[in-house]
């Protein structure tokens, strides 16, 4: 076996080393944080909606943790620009795994889905459908 890796393909490593949309918004429509208590991964997502109150105009993330959680956040922010809240809410873990393009081992799924869960929970809180301080992912 060479240095090649199943879970750590170039794309994941690239997004980890050069995260896209990393930072914070001055005036987000909503913002939410989450963590994997067992790994110490943390993610904050800031979302600005367009005037229609439905389209994601800009989404950025900040935080730190393992390559899977951070690359997933980076890729997700790229994918979500210009989509609607309804499209965001329709996403599930399979969409995240497809987006990452690698097999995620069962124990690492919670790292992969953290960013998605954080932004989805953020949207639900914004719409008054959920009430939590911090999103936590478990198996």
């Amino acid at each position: 076996m060479g240095i090649g890796s199943d879970m750590y393909r170039q794309q994941i490593l690239d997004h980890y080393k050069n995260p896209r949309n990393y930072g914070e918004l001055d005036d987000p429509t909503f913002s939410h944080v989450g963590e994997n208590p067992s790994c110490g991964d943390t993610i904050k997502m800031d979302v600005a909606l367009a005037d229609d109150g439905e389209t994601i105009e800009r989404v950025v993330f900040s935080g730190d943790g393992c390559a899977i959680s951070q690359a997933s956040a980076s890729m997700l922010t790229s994918k979500l620009q210009g989509t609607t809240l309804a499209e965001l809410e329709a996403m599930d873990r399979d969409d995240v795994v497809d987006m990452l393009g690698v097999d995620i081992s069962p124990m690492r799924i919670k790292c992969a889905v953290l960013a998605e869960k954080v932004v989805q929970d953020g949207a639900k809180i914004y719409e008054g459908e959920l009430d939590v301080e911090t999103t936590k992912t478990e198996e």
């Binding site: 076996m1 890796s5 750590y8 110490g40």
Partner: protein, 425 residues
């Protein structure tokens, strides 16, 4: 048992008793067992979490279910008698293994965690109150740390933590300051499962006893890896788990000095632990059964005795010597890299485990990459979150060794770490 250069034991012969070591890794982890895409030889370095099970122990389990499976202490039919005798004698065997006086001092529990909880509830709820203190160390496993923390909350007692020095060892002066006449319990991990530090339990026991306190020793990492004698340690209580010492899961041991156990009320109530019951009152069985309510872990207890036989055959002095050799080798190999941080005391002064981090690579990523090369280590906080906070890290990777591990396996670990380094460069 013979030896094999450079080892104090015959590792090759030992490995033959552990067929799982021939497994390959690398495929689908959602279905148990080796699959067609598994291709990397297993390098199992997660023994501090759970050790593997040698054939004689697997056979003892199968023999029990095939030959004399039955509930204990209940039937006067032959199967029940055979099971009862074997289960009771397993207590004697474990007592002998740790230098206890007899079965009265050996309680079978579910695991180390259950053993701590038994003492915390059955002894602690009675003995602790406002104005009392429980002294722990900053390197306690959650099993004891969380348990004493919560029992202290219930009873109004204070918890004190003896410091861990920068070199990863216990600050004994601080411990001596903290242990005073308010102290009712000193609870200390014998070998730290994160730092590998070996704590001076006998000196702590003397300190505790000088102040009229009890000492509870968390032997989860020490009993599997070195000779442990409760009389030499003067331990009031000692806890350990079968699954870390060639035995099955589902069984732990609590040793307690007989007079202490005799004074304590039962922890769990129910069948098997009673002598006489009326609608109003109950009286308790003799030790140790008073503390073993309900159907106990019968097969696990019997198999634990077989595991103890197996380890005694290897010789616990030899087990320790082998662990020392591997710990020192791993420590030297890993500390040779500037971008690797190893936690805890030097290689020649630690138990057989090494927790470390590689700069710029999260421990979970490191562990995943190692796994893709067949190398099994633990990554996370190893149930010592406060200690990780103190070290200023969220997680670490930990390689831990046992009697079947070799220096070549540590070389495979170091190679895999290098692969991760290059991948993330």
């Amino acid at each position: 048992m013979g030896t094999q250069e450079p080892y104090p034991i015959d590792v090759e012969a030992i490995r033959e008793d552990f067929p799982i070591l021939d497994r390959k890794i690398g495929g689908d982890a959602t279905t148990p067992g080796e699959g067609p895409t598994d291709d990397a030889p297993l390098v199992y370095l997660d023994n501090a979490a759970t050790s593997h099970t040698p054939e004689p122990v697997v056979e003892a389990i199968a023999d029990y279910y095939r030959g004399y499976n039955s509930n204990v202490h209940r039937g006067i039919h032959q199967l029940s008698q055979e099971a009862s005798v074997a289960y009771e004698e397993a207590h004697d065997r474990v007592a002998e293994f740790i230098g206890a006086d007899g079965r009265e001092e050996i309680l079978f529990t579910a695991n180390t965690t259950a053993s701590v909880n038994l003492v915390a509830y059955a002894w602690g709820l009675d003995a602790l109150g406002p104005g009392d203190s429980v002294v722990l160390t900053e390197m306690e496993h959650h099993a004891s740390l969380v348990t004493w923390q919560q029992i202290a909350k219930k009873t109004g007692a204070e918890v004190r933590y003896a410091r861990v020095d920068d070199d990863g060892t216990l600050d004994m002066d601080h411990a001596a300051d903290l242990i005073d006449d308010t102290t009712e319990m000193v609870s200390v991990v014998h070998v730290s499962n994160t730092l590998g530090a070996i704590n001076p339990v006998r000196r702590l026991a003397d300190l505790a006893h000088d102040h009229g306190a009890r000492i509870f020793v968390d032997g989860a990492q020490s009993v599997p890896t070195r000779p442990v004698d409760v009389t030499d340690l003067d331990a009031d209580f000692l806890a350990f788990s079968g699954h870390k010492m060639c035995g099955p899961t589902g069984i732990g041991v609590l040793y307690g000095k007989e007079h202490l156990l005799a004074e304590m009320d039962p922890f769990l109530y129910g069948g098997e632990m009673i002598r006489r019951v009326t609608y109003e009152e109950s009286t308790w069985e003799d030790l140790p059964w008073k503390f073993e309510a309900g159907t106990p872990p019968i097969e696990q207890g019997i198999a634990l005795a077989t595991a103890v036989d197996y380890l005694d055959d290897v010789g616990m002095e030899n087990v320790r010597a082998h662990e020392d050799l591997l710990a020192e080798y791993a420590y030297d190999q890993l500390t040779a890299f500037d971008d690797v941080t190893v936690y805890g005391p030097p290689g020649d002064d630690r138990g057989g485990l090494v927790a470390f981090n590689l700069d710029g690579v999260h421990a979970h990523d490191l562990s995943s990459i190692l796994n893709e090369r067949g190398v099994a280590v633990r990554a996370g906080d190893h149930c010592t979150q406060p200690l990780h906070d103190k070290l200023g890290i969220a997680a670490s990777a930990r390689a831990s060794f046992y009697i079947y591990n070799t220096v070549e396996e540590i070389d495979a670990l170091v190679d895999a770490v290098d692969a991760a380094r290059q991948l993330f460069a």
